[in-house]
Amino acid sequence: MALDKETVAKVAHLARIKVPEDRLDSLAGELDGIVNWVEQLGEVDVEGVAPMTSAVETSLRWREDKVDDGGYPEKVTANAPDAQMNFYTTPKVVE
């Protein structure tokens, strides 16, 4: 199995998702099944093919350098579960 329990635990940490220990095995099975299935792409010859990153064929549009947004700290913190004095909060981060 390419995607084992340890890999799932590692990936879950990278994605910051808590996975209960007793779920790791079954999850590894499901994810491994998906990964094995997508590996059929190996059959496709993509020699010299450029990756398609967007379905839109034009190039990036630029905005003007103009301040036309922001200035509403109450609005951006209104939905925060624990905003204080217009700051967001997290458990203390030790650097």
């Binding site: 590692k10 940490h13 990278l14 910051r16 990153t53 967007s54 839109v56 034009t58 190039s59 990036l60 549009r61 630029w62 905005r63 003007e64 350098d65 103009k66 301040v67 036309d68 947004d69 922001g70 200035g71 700290p73 609005k75 951006v76 913190t77 624990d82 204080q84 004095m85 217009n86 700051f87 967001y88 909060t89 997290t90 458990p91 203390k92 981060v93 030790v94 650097e95």
Partner: protein, 485 residues
């Protein structure tokens, strides 16, 4: 390579340094939103819904940031990539609301280039540029507001940064510091970054490794977010010595991120922040490739001013300045402009001397920048003019300059009000000379007896009697005639 060496117990060591400088692009709005970038706003007052990573919010690029990146690339003699790609750098952190930073990865807007760096001894060194890319700045976490919480302010979140990556071409703390100074000077010349390191507009990540001369590159440590030129110098030396001690003690240097603590004079590991970093870069699907044409590049090139290296060459050639003086004068474009204005009114070498010695000395003492100078360039030029046409002597000029600096008054105004005009009337000077000669028969005799060095004493007496106003050359000539004759 530099001939800088550090002495360890096992012999001499070379230091190899590369820098990643983050420079805030001078723009009114952020890289991908219309929120303001000004320094010092209230918490989250310069945050748009995009910057706060609200669901469904999308980035739209600020064209001015692209323009400034291209101008900077041109100023660094670098390859400009007419097509580049924004990628997401994925990681979780309190000051990173999207959970990713929009940056550029394998296709940056600017490729390889080089800068000529002025070293303190007047020589120069060419440092290679690896790349320059555009990316978003993160927010700010504050840790002292609450006993158990960190407070997050996203005002900086999304501000445009240019990350300028050098090649590992520097071999001493001086070279690293000089590179940062030169880069800062270039960015300020072209106006793509205000270079204000104290406000965080420019920060350097410094990669340091050590090796025995001639050997392969050692493992490097990265010193994060150093915010002054002086600290760059200190951090490199302290880190290099630490690595030498580790290796000579039988250990190995870890490839890691370290924090420089200037108050303790040490660097320390930031491993807790580093755990399991795997940034999972991929092209940002909310953005299309960034593209522009040659005409745009040329338009950017057309807006570039004369750059410090060219200016230095010109100052040496057309003003006859030495490399050191020229380098000092061009380091800051405001100083260079000031100097050129002063030089219009007098001898350029004298002008350089007055700017770098007299003006800088007084500015330093008063803790003022050139922009805050109480004496304008035109005003200093006027003073030089008064010396050139013998209205005042150099000695008087220094006193006048002191007063100009203190009161902001003009040179002519002070000279006139105080009657400091040089005496150039030969009759008037002759009368004083005659009086001095007549009043000091003993000295005259000694002089004539062979102690010709006394001429200086006579000049002093005449100057004193004229309250410093007599033209020193005329005094000298007349005394010589009277005493020898």
């Amino acid at each position: 390579m530099s001939d800088y060496r550090l002495k360890g117990e096992t012999g001499e060591w070379e230091v190899v340094i590369g820098l990643e400088v983050h420079a805030q692009v001078s723009s009114k709005a952020k890289l991908f939103s219309g929120a303001a970038t000004a320094f010092g706003a209230d918490p989250n007052a310069q945050v748009s819904l995009v910057d706060a990573a609200m669901p469904g919010m999308l980035p739209v690029i600020n064209g001015e940031c692209v323009r400034q990146a291209v101008r900077t690339g041109l100023a660094l003699n670098a390859a400009i990539n007419k097509q580049s790609v924004f990628a997401r750098k994925n990681y979780f952190y309190a000051d990173l609301p999207q959970g990713y930073q929009i940056s550029q990865y394998d296709q940056p807007v600017v490729g390889e280039g080089e800068v000529e760096v002025d070293l303190p001894d007047g020589t120069t060194k060419v440092v290679g540029i690896e790349r320059l890319h555009l990316e978003q700045d993160a927010g700010k976490s504050m840790h002292d507001q609450h006993p158990k919480k960190s407070f997050i302010d996203l005002n900086r979140s999304g501000v445009a940064l240019m990350e300028i990556v050098s090649k590992p071409d520097m071999g001493s703390p001086e070279e690293a510091a000089a590179y940062v100074s030169t880069l800062r000077s270039i960015l300020r010349y072209i106006g793509s970054c205000d270079g204000n390191m104290a406000e965080g507009s420019m920060r350097a990540d410094v990669n340091v490794s050590v090796r025995k001369p001639g050997e392969a590159l050692g493992t490097r440590a990265e010193l994060k977010n150093i915010n002054s030129v002086r600290f760059v110098r200190q951090a490199v030396e302290i880190e290099a010595l630490r690595q030498i001690a580790v290796i000579e003690g039988g250990g190995t240097v870890d490839q890691e991120t370290r924090l420089f603590d200037p108050s303790k004079g040490e660097t320390r590991s930031m491993r807790n922040k580093e755990e399991a970093h795997d940034y999972r870069y991929f092209p940002d699907p909310d953005l299309l490739p960034l593209e522009f044409d040659d005409a745009f590049v040329e338009e950017c090139r057309g807006t570039l001013p004369e750059l410090p290296a060219e200016k230095k060459k010109r100052f040496m050639e057309s003003y006859g300045l030495g490399a050191y003086d020229a380098a000092v004068l061009v380091a800051d474009w405001e100083i260079a402009n000031y100097f050129e204005e002063v030089a219009k009114h007098g001898d350029p070498k004298q002008a350089a001397n007055w700017v770098t010695v007299e003006l800088f000395g007084r500015l330093n003492k008063a803790d003022k920048t050139i922009l805050e100078s109480p004496v304008s360039a035109a005003s200093l030029g006027e003073l030089l003019g008064l010396m050139a046409d013998d209205t005042i002597s150099g000695k008087i000029a220094k006193d006048v300059f002191d007063e100009m600096f203190e009161t902001g008054k003009g040179a002519k105004e002070i000279v006139e009000a105080k009657g400091l005009k040089q005496i150039t009337d030969s009759g008037e000077i002759e009368a004083i000379v005659d009086k001095v000669v007549a009043d000091n028969p003993d000295q005259v005799e000694k002089y004539r007896g062979g102690k010709t060095g006394l001429i200086g004493w006579f000049v002093g007496q005449v100057m004193k009697a004229s309250q410093g106003k007599a033209n020193p050359k005329m005094v000298n000539d007349l005394l010589q005639k009277k005493l020898d004759g």
